[in-house]
């Protein structure tokens, strides 16, 4: 049974359709990525799934409960790591965690053990009794992540979890997300702007634009949908045109000769390359240069969402909050 299931989920803000008849489902233990430009409807979708907003049309089920009508039930099993940094600067890390535990009805005794465990997981044990005011931006984000886990949620929503973080912290966050899935089997719903992040973490990715899902598949299939990997070959002193020979090789989809360079579109480039090399060498052709170019998710993303810059339409407070979040992270 899917953990998250939406059926024509729609949200309108006046004339603006922020989320437009979106249907998808997320299986248990899956890391599901939601990609899209600013204002595409990512956060609005999360807000509906986490009971912050009611859908204008359609429905969403989380853990088998209707997010609109059984919001109390959904809140019990859902954890949210919001885009904003919402940990309280005036309290210590420990106090923030204790407050969160209270909000999720975790008994104090159990809470203390869990906080220890969770803080250890994100590496904040030493800073636990310091005021959050003294934390770096990365530490705040990690504390935010730790808070989302205090009640052992069934589904964890991560809204741009690495926004504005430095590379080191980003890697820590990625490791953490992977560990959570491996050790706890938590289902995760993640939005991000970073393609390498989605590629690395997600089992499946949905690309959303103008409120609609324009593509949904595994990262590999999405990349393959661009037509596969490209092998570029250059021969040493070969006057004849080898296009035909190359085209007949297995896994090859298309060959183009541009100057002296052959651009060969193949599926599964890593496997195709040795086979092609072998065949070519048997034909007594000498290769002077070879390279394998794999399509990136960036290319997939641009393919589906286009290259034009977006004007974000959102709540006035949203942009301010985003700025504040970045400022607080960069400290």
């Amino acid at each position: 049974m899917p953990v998250i299931e939406t059926n024509n989920l729609t949200k309108r803000f006046g004339p603006l359709v922020a989320v437009d008849h979106v249907s998808f489902s997320v299986e248990e233990g899956e890391i599901f990525g939601f990609l899209g430009p600013n204002g595409a409807g990512k956060t609005t979708t999360i807000n509906m799934l986490t009971t912050l907003l009611n859908p204008s049309e359609g429905s969403a089920k989380v853990g088998g409960f209707d997010a609109e009508k059984q919001d109390d039930k959904v809140r019990e099993i859902v954890g949210l790591v919001p885009q904003d940094i919402t940990v309280d600067d005036d309290l210590t890390g420990m106090e923030n965690m204790m407050l969160q535990a209270k909000l999720y009805h975790v008994p104090t005794k159990i809470a203390k053990e869990r906080i220890k465990e969770v803080l250890n997981l994100v590496g904040l044990t030493d800073a636990a009794n310091r005021r959050v005011e003294t934390y770096s931006g990365g530490m705040r984000k990690l504390l935010e992540l730790a808070e989302g886990l205090i009640h052992y949620p069934k589904v964890l929503f991560l809204d741009e979890p690495t926004l504005g973080l430095d590379v080191q912290t980003r890697v820590v966050v990625w490791d953490y997300i992977k560990k959570l899935r491996e050790e706890r089997g938590i289902t995760m719903f993640l939005t991000t702007h970073y393609m390498e992040e989605a590629d690395l973490l997600c089992d499946r990715i949905a690309i959303i634009d103008h409120g609609k899902i324009v593509a949904l598949d595994t990262p590999q299939n999405l990349k393959d949908s661009l037509g596969g990997d490209i092998i570029e070959l250059e021969f040493d002193k070969s006057p004849s045109d080898n296009t035909k020979t190359l085209s007949s090789l297995p896994q090859v989809r298309d060959v183009k000769k541009i100057g002296d360079v052959y651009r060969i579109k193949v599926s599964k480039g890593e496997e195709a390359l040795p086979k092609i090399m072998e065949k070519v060498l048997k034909m007594n052709l000498r290769i002077s240069k070879v390279s394998l170019v794999k399509p990136t998710l960036d290319q997939v993303y641009l393919e589906y969402t286009g290259r034009s810059l977006r004007e974000t339409q959102g709540e006035t407070g949203e942009i301010w909050r985003r700025m504040m979040t970045l400022r607080r992270i960069r400290g």
């Binding site: 912050l52 407050l99 209270k102 407070g317």
Partner: protein, 276 residues
């Protein structure tokens, strides 16, 4: 419901307890008001009165100023109510902060009754008010507050109860007004719009009798007048004069105000947290 409310109230109280600057500012404001304003006015010193008329003059002053010739004492009693008003206003501000920083969303995602979010705001505001009242009362005492000769511990409790009721009603009212507001600028504008009229159209700083008729009418519906009046009666409790009937009437109004405004305010604020 109760557990969550306590946890959230604790957060609010911790927030300002840990902020020494805020604590300092909490003291500075009333000290400035009491020191500069309260001490600058000397009721019996404005005009020199021939000695034979001195008694008559003082009697007239006492009649107008609720039985004291010391403006500082008159005003300090009113100041306690004004401080409750200022603190209640901050409740509204803190909701907007929580909304803007996303903290409110964190609470809304949590499986807690929406009412506990609202109740925690009101109760932390009341706690803070009471704390400030105690401090300012101490400061006023140090500055030479002249309590009546029959002033006792019961009067002191009476003061706290009156101000508690005022705080409950005002905090709920401000919360209901600000719960849907998204920007600080708007809250500050709204707060200023309400604060000054509430402060001046009352007997907190000047006796109502001196005011033009229309202002008197407003002041008569202003809960601050009733709280200030009750507090003043307790502070000036002397063996010769304590108008129990008047104090009872003050309390009647204050209890009504606190009940209606806290119930309505909390209900409105809870609706304000509904999903969009």
């Amino acid at each position: 419901m109760i557990e969550e409310t306590i946890a959230l109230t604790k957060r609010e109280v911790k927030k300002w307890m840990k902020n020494p600057f805020l604590l300092f500012m909490m003291l500075v404001q009333p000290v400035i008001w009491l020191g500069l304003f309260g001490k600058a006015l000397n009721l019996t010193g404005f005009i020199s009165v021939p000695p034979e008329l001195q008694d008559q003059f003082e009697k007239m002053i006492r009649q107008t100023f609720s039985g004291t010739t010391d403006y500082f004492t008159y005003m300090a009693a009113g100041m306690l109510s004004v401080i409750v008003l200022f603190t209640a206003m901050f409740t509204g501000m803190s909701v907007v902060w929580d909304r803007r920083f996303g903290f409110l969303n964190k609470l809304l995602v949590a499986p807690i009754p929406r009412g506990s979010i609202v109740l925690a705001k009101v109760s932390s505001s009341v706690i803070r008010s009471m704390f400030q009242v105690l401090l300012v009362f101490g400061i006023a005492f140090a500055f030479g507050l002249q309590v009546g000769n029959a002033f006792g511990i019961l009067d002191f409790f009476g003061i706290l109860v009156a101000l508690f009721l005022l705080s409950l009603g005002l905090s709920s009212m401000f919360l209901a007004i600000t719960i849907r507001i998204k920007s600080h600028e708007t809250v500050i504008a709204v707060a200023n719009l309400l604060n000054l009229p509430l402060m001046f159209a009352s007997n907190a700083l000047f006796p109502i009798k001196q005011m033009p008729q229309w202002l008197q009418t407003i002041a008569k519906f202003n809960p601050i007048s009733y709280a200030a009046d009750a507090v003043r009666s307790f502070i000036l409790h002397s063996s010769t004069g304590f108008d129990a009937a008047k104090v009872a009437a003050d309390f009647q109004f204050l209890i009504g105000f606190a009940l209606i405004f806290s119930l309505a305010g909390i209900l409105i604020a809870r609706t304000g947290l509904r999903k969009g």
